[in-house]
Symmetry: C2
Subunit: 204 residues, 2 copies
DNA sequence: GTCTATAAAGTGATAGAC
DNA sequence: GTCTATCACTTTATAGAC
């Protein structure tokens, strides 16, 4: 992890915000370094290139997010009383908690872009570095949904993860009622998403 | 509609493909006119600007797609025997049929990008020109799901339309088995999506 | 580690000949 | 309606001073 307020971290924060807003191509290094309050040359000095910076934007959040997701999954995985909803909570809750703290909700928008873009380079990067996470979730889903064929299961998981990522990318923009606390609002959203996803996964 | 093979149409086809692949910012007018086999200046002559071209890429497909969706909805809307699945079919089937013919599946990828980008200009354009379609579908969903609050209903429709658009944007890339006809494969996918969406919408 | 200056290439858009 | 040539900028990236 980088020291808070370091040049590297300020660049990552500005990049995350601008990539969310304008996309990887749409955000220029000039906008980015200007927003970060650092020199234009700093990106190449600290990251090597714009592409490497994009990679680090993903790594910074996904390393932590996926560690949390796997830890939450490990708590319920393989247990006899585990319900589908518990596994989905392990997938959803860490992401929505990320959305809560500084900049995290912007990252979910970056991630949703990556889903929709179907870019091969990006997909390969994500699959190589974080593919094991989805494989573990898939194994647990398979255990809890024994009636589904492999084909059908993969298909539904794909649909659900896409829908959830897209939904969570919009979470930061949903206006919550003033009389509901941030924490309560997030928990309510989590429950909505879990119900929705569980219904979709186990549809007969 | 433009004459098939006209300069305008060749530009629109090339634009659709490149916007799907590289995004609106990522695809340059030079790549685009080169792929279309037309002169660089042709885009500005025929469309005025790159932004106007983007608009036309959406219009060309959405005018037809939404007309078909509304026609299909009209056949089941308000009838006593109508099920949730019938309304979803009216939404899904025209889009997957579009995916079948030339270039349409590329357009669904463009549309999915638009969903994930959260770009205000684009969202305003879509809402102003095609918002009435979602309003009609929403009204029918509300009739068939009287137990849901308005808030809850809007939320679920948002989730479902996002998920469906994302899923359909990947449809053209799913490898189908050799022993299944294109038509059968599409119908199977339609049924999967309908079941999934119906379960999510009516989750208790 | 941060800066300025600049290279080298790419961008959207347009004027004007045909 | 199509073309070439070009303008005015922006792009990523880097060399070299401090």
């Amino acid at each position: 992890m980088n020291p808070a307020g370091s040049t590297k971290e300020r660049i990552l924060n500005a990049a995350e915000a601008l990539f969310a807003q304008r996309g990887f191509d749409g955000a220029s290094l000039r906008q980015l370094t200007s927003a970060a309050g650092v020199n234009l040359a700093a990106v190449n000095y600290h990251f090597g290139s714009k592409d490497k910076l994009v990679e680090q934007v993903f790594r910074r959040r996904l390393d932590a997010l996926n560690t949390e997701r796997l830890a939450a999954l490990a708590k319920v995985s393989g247990a006899p009383g585990t319900r589908l909803e518990d596994v989905l909570a392990a997938f959803i809750r860490p992401a929505l908690e990320l959305s809560h703290d500084n900049g995290g909700s912007l990252f979910m928008r970056v991630l949703a872009r990556a889903f929709a873009e179907h870019d091969d380079t990006l997909r390969t990067f994500l699959s190589e570095n974080y593919g094991h996470v989805m494989r573990q979730f898939t194994a647990e889903f398979a255990r809890l949904l024994p009636g589904l064929s492999k084909e059908e299961l993969y298909w539904r998981i794909d649909l659900v993860t896409g829908a959830l990522t897209l939904a969570m990318s919009g979470f930061g923009m949903i206006r919550r009622r003033d009389n509901v606390s941030e924490r309560a609002h997030r928990e309510q959203t989590t429950q909505h998403l879990i119900r929705f996803a569980a219904a979709g996964l186990s549809a007969s």
